[in-house]
């Protein structure tokens, strides 16, 4: 993302809305400027700020007048008065930043918006996590911290060494040059993103071991980590296997997303392969 210095009036609104704090008023040019190293191309500034199309010279003059008489003005905080943002035509590998940071852009590898993962939210039609299995979503960088791919690789290496299976339909997995070792493409390691999710699946018996491993590797990673644990309920809708393990490990389980099991395979091609109403 770039800010057009001919349009910018240095109102400062955008400096607050950047999730990475990558926008600042450069005192040398008196214009808002994007720190390209820290910018993750999330487009929160461009997509989230309402845009006016005021004359920049007029706005600057008014601002100077107000400043001169020490008058506090009270603008709307979510508006760019001169529509000064200029989205760039991003090239590889920088375009990876946007793919993992702008939730409106679907990931090419999965076709899913956001972080590009379906996890257990479509488990009723995909059967991704079955009884006796645990699905982990290990998310890096949010809220509001961001993460570099070379940091994520520390975790994928450790998980691969432990012999876990990475979810194939996952944007991070699609960037691995060697899934067996968890090695990511070298040309993206220097890219910073808002967040990414590594997805793995293991037998229930390995739950404690994986959590211990994740906790250990977290100490070496310079960002925050949010772990989600997906489990299949039994026929009566109860989940009495994984939850108790997590509680025994000291987690106070406050929130969950619950798949209600109302999904059905309805696509015509799929129906030929699998029975409809399959409760996987």
């Amino acid at each position: 993302m770039r800010i057009n210095p001919d349009k910018c009036v240095a109102c400062g609104n955008c400096t607050y809305v950047c999730p990475m704090g990558a926008i600042y008023i450069d005192p040398a040019i008196k214009r808002a400027t994007v720190d390209r190293n820290e910018c993750v191309e999330c487009y929160a500034c461009f997509n989230g700020l309402s845009q006016e199309h005021l004359n920049p010279t007029l706005v600057r003059t008014l601002r100077k007048l107000f400043q001169l008489v020490r008058l506090r003005f009270d603008p709307e905080p979510d508006v760019c008065p001169t529509a000064a943002f200029d989205p760039e035509d991003l090239q590889w590998p920088r375009v990876v930043r946007r793919a993992f940071s702008d939730p409106r852009v679907p990931h090419e590898s999965t076709g899913v918006q956001g972080r590009g993962t379906e996890e257990v939210k479509t488990n009723d039609v995909t059967g991704r996590v079955k009884e006796g299995e645990v699905g982990f979503t290990i998310e890096f960088g949010r809220p509001g911290v961001g993460v570099w791919f070379h940091e994520i690789q520390k975790m994928t290496w450790a998980l691969a060494k432990a012999g876990v299976a990475f979810e194939k339909k996952n944007p991070v997995t699609s960037l691995m040059t060697d899934v067996a070792s968890g090695t990511l493409r070298e040309d993206i390691l220097g890219e910073k993103i808002l967040s990414a999710i590594v997805e793995i699946k293991v037998p229930v018996a390995r739950t404690e071991e994986i959590i211990g491993l994740v906790r250990e590797v977290e100490k070496q990673i310079d960002t925050v980590v949010a772990v989600g644990v997906g489990a299949r309920c039994d026929e009566s809708g109860e989940e009495n296997v994984v939850g108790p393990i997590l509680e025994r490990l000291g987690y106070k389980l406050e929130r969950a997303k619950t798949n209600a099991g109302l999904g059905r395979i309805t696509n015509s091609a799929e129906e030929r392969k699998e029975p409809a109403n399959a409760r996987l």
């Binding site: 607050y16 809305v17 999730p19 704090g21 929160a44 997509n47 989230g48 309402s50 006016e52 199309h53 709307e76 905080p77 979510d78 939730p103 918006q113 956001g114 993962t117 379906e118 257990v120 939210k121 479509t122 009723d124 039609v125 995909t126 890096f140 809220p143 509001g144 911290v145 999710i197 959590i211 994740v214 977290e218 100490k219 990673i221 925050v224 949010a226 772990v227 644990v229 997906g230 489990a231 309920c233 026929e235 109860e238 997590l246 987690y251 389980l253 406050e254 929130r255 969950a256 997303k257 619950t258 798949n259 209600a260 099991g261 109302l262 999904g263 395979i265 309805t266 696509n267 091609a269």
Partner: protein
């Protein structure tokens, strides 16, 4: 929708936060899903959602690409649910957000009766979701637990800011904006309702809960946690 899973707060703090969302899975139930997604959102209206949204076009409070200068004095703060429903044009995740459990329960009952075939998820406290399923006579299929935030948690802001920002799990609501809104409410420069609408416009999929956010801002006006 992991963006609703890691909302910050204890189970009690989600008493006014129920996100019910529908998602088609690519290759499984996405064919012809657009009318069903619209129907899902339409069915939510009688139960007075506090937000609706789709993952591509955003929620019921959206920024303007061409804001008129006079709008500063009369900005529309009302959610536009119709724009959300009419705007769904491709298979994606759609969500309805409620601030009352009974509304979420009744909505889930209605969704079950409609038999859309889409994958339906409820994101709230574990007990809250279980009660919604129970009320609708649905045995839960799968559960995704949040273990909260770990790692370099010293990089995180205070709990009130976290509660405000994590309601957009995609991270589009910045820490700085949330802090600024708390300050503006404390200073009396803006009402909690106004501050909430500024933040909600940055949520790109419409799962932000304005009702919960307003409560958090009211609380933050007098107590910093």
């Amino acid at each position: 929708m992991t963006n609703t899973l890691h909302r910050y707060g204890d189970a009690q703090s989600f008493f006014d936060d129920y996100v019910v969302f529908a998602i088609p899975s690519r290759g499984k139930n996405d064919q012809g899903s657009v009318p069903k997604l619209k129907q899902f959102l339409e069915m939510a209206l009688p139960f007075q959602p506090v937000n609706l949204g789709d993952a591509i076009h955003g929620g019921a409070l959206r920024p303007s690409r061409n804001m008129h200068p006079t709008a500063h004095w009369n900005r529309d703060m009302k959610p536009d649910f119709r724009a959300v429903i009419d705007g769904v044009d491709t298979p994606t995740t759609v969500a309805a957000v409620f601030d009352k459990r009974v509304a979420a329960e009744d909505f889930v009952k209605t969704v079950r009766a409609a038999d859309l075939g889409l994958c339906i998820n409820i994101s709230t406290s574990i007990d809250g979701a279980e009660q919604c399923c129970h009320a609708a006579g649905i045995p839960r299929h799968s559960v995704g637990y949040s273990l909260g935030f770990e790692g370099k948690t010293e990089k995180l802001p205070n709990s009130q800011v976290l509660m405000l920002t994590t309601m957009c799990g995609h991270g589009m609501i910045s820490t700085s904006l949330a802090k600024k809104m708390i300050d503006w409410v404390k200073e009396g420069r803006r009402s909690p309702e106004q501050a909430v609408t500024y933040m909600a416009r940055f949520c790109s999929c419409g799962v932000y809960n304005p009702s919960r956010a307003k409560r958090i801002l009211e609380d933050a006006r007098t107590k910093i946690k």
